[in-house]
């Protein structure tokens, strides 16, 4: 049984005009599915529907997880809480030991000094690490990623991706991610879904079968080139005329 099965017949922010239709996503444990598409193509909407943050008009959402986590485009930390309290916020409804927080923070590259500070006193990359620690500390089996690293510089982004993959390797969690970075999709995903059209639906599905630990920069480069030449991908990234 899939950990997540999303079946959208129809969804619209305004009732009469659907934004998304006829979309079917099934995610298994230990699998990564990447949604790609141009800005404004409804990637975030789809992710929110999958996480249950938006309610479907017509369709079905089947969840089968113990704990879910979501990394948003912004860090969404509470400015009035110290970094440590921000990390342990996600633990509140669970019975997981709070003492784990420092250990997780260390894994994310945060020092004990960082933990007593407020988020506003840290750099953007450090803040993202706090958000990452908040997500991982509950040991999620389902993780949603909404381009959380898009604001980071190249090296930091690579580091964050590795951090994510090592966490995933340990816990066998499933990831549904949104990205406009084709490199990132090739590097991480088992399946890439290209979104396009109006109303939005899946225009193409691409499987990446190479094991993740064998995806070296060369592989990523050539696969990305191939991806960029597919007519569906080209079409989905062309700016639509109004």
């Amino acid at each position: 049984m899939s950990i997540l099965h999303l079946n959208i017949d129809e969804f619209g922010y305004i009732p009469i005009r659907p934004n998304v239709e006829n979309t079917n996503i099934a995610l298994e444990s230990g699998e990564i599915i990447a949604l790609i598409g141009a800005s404004g193509s409804g990637k975030t909407t789809l992710l929110k529907l999958a996480a249950g943050l938006l309610e479907l008009d017509k369709g079905k959402l089947n969840h089968n997880f113990n704990r879910q986590a979501y990394l948003f485009q912004e860090t969404r930390l509470l400015p009035w809480k110290s970094c440590l309290d921000n990390i342990t916020l996600s633990l509140m409804p669970t019975k997981i030991n709070i003492n784990l927080a420092t250990q997780y923070a260390k894994q994310m590259g945060l020092t004990e000094e960082d933990l007593v500070k407020y988020p506003s006193e840290l750099s953007g990359g450090m803040r993202q690490r706090v958000a990452l620690a908040r997500a991982f500390i509950i040991q999620p089996d389902l993780l949603f990623l909404d381009e959380p690293f898009s604001a980071l510089d190249f090296t930091l982004r690579a580091e964050m991706q590795q951090l994510l993959l090592s966490q995933m390797h340990e816990s066998n969690m499933a990831i549904l991610m949104v990205t406009h970075d084709l490199n990132e999709a090739i590097l991480m995903a088992d399946e890439i879904l290209v979104l396009g059209g109006d109303p939005v639906h899946i225009v193409k599905s691409i499987l990446v079968t190479q094991p993740r630990n064998e995806r070296d920069p060369e592989f990523v480069f050539f696969e990305t080139q191939k991806l960029m030449q597919m007519p569906e991908v080209v079409a989905s990234f062309v700016i639509r005329d109004e």
């Binding site: 943050l53 879910q68 969404r76 009035w80 509140m92 409804p93 509950i138």
Partner: protein, 261 residues
């Protein structure tokens, strides 16, 4: 221990910063003294005369009792408005419909002049503590209510989404996510409401009660005793400063310590 030292140091720094405020107040006193020299004691008694007159009233005429009773009335009205206004404002801020429905009522009640409420209260409750307390409550309640409602409405939906993902309970959400956002709206409203409470309670007493600062001022008016009147004004302001700077402001600084100045 380290913490205690830090807290003590903070308190001392805060009190020390009071000298700046005191300096401005002394300038005001100087202007007052100058006015007194120009116009004489009948029109404008000197600060010294006023304070002595008030001290005399406190020692010989049991004015402490008047202060206490005024304090009690203002406290009841203000306290009730703070508790009920904040709570009901937060609850109605949760629902769009409630906020829309209650907005005109808030505007309406804020439009009724305080003096009109005093007259109504006198007819309803007579010469009672209730008259002053009720007037304070009814004037101050809509201000606090409107701010609480606004604070709740303006809360970040992004943080709500985050809390929903991690399955925080309603109570946890309220304490950790909503309350710190609402407090930025509530505190200024509480401070404004506190200032108004004092003014209104004195006005209500002046018109309709036998005891309290207002009643004492009515007496001073009958006796054309400007010095005592000025003394009482000083007393009211002094109390207000005390509550705002020794009680509300430190609380505000504590809860908003994450905001870098």
């Amino acid at each position: 221990m380290q913490n205690l030292k830090q807290i003590l140091a903070n308190i001392l720094t805060y009190l020390w910063s009071g000298w700046g405020g005191a300096a401005s107040l002394f300038i005001l006193l100087t202007v007052w003294e100058y006015g007194h020299l120009k116009m004489g004691s009948l029109i404008l008694p000197s600060p010294k005369e006023s304070i002595i007159a008030l001290a005399f009233a406190i020692v010989n005429e049991n004015a402490i009792f008047d202060i206490a009773i005024t304090f009690k009335r203002a406290f009841y009205g203000f306290g009730a408005a703070v508790i009920l206004g904040s709570a009901s404002g937060i609850i109605s801020g949760k629902s769009m419909t409630m906020s829309m429905a209650l907005r005109p009522i808030v505007t309406f009640t804020m439009g009724v002049p305080p003096i009109a409420w005093i007259i109504l209260a006198l007819m309803w409750f007579g010469n009672d503590d209730m008259t002053a307390a009720f007037t304070v409550f009814v004037v101050v309640f809509p201000i606090i209510f409107a701010s609480a409602m606004q604070g709740m409405r303006m809360r970040s939906t992004e943080l709500d989404e985050m809390a929903d993902i991690y399955k925080l309970s309603q109570t946890q959400k309220f304490i950790h996510i909503h309350m710190p956002q609402i407090i930025s709206y509530l505190f200024p409203a509480w401070i404004v409401a506190l200032g108004m409470s004092w003014k209104i309670v004195v006005m209500a007493e002046l018109l309709g009660t036998e005891h309290g600062i207002g009643a004492a001022m009515a007496m001073a008016r009958v006796n054309i005793d400007t010095a005592v009147t000025m003394g009482w004004i000083l007393m009211i302001i002094f109390n207000l400063l005390l509550i705002e700077y020794l009680f509300l402001e430190p609380i505000k600084r504590y809860v908003e310590r994450w905001k870098i100045p």
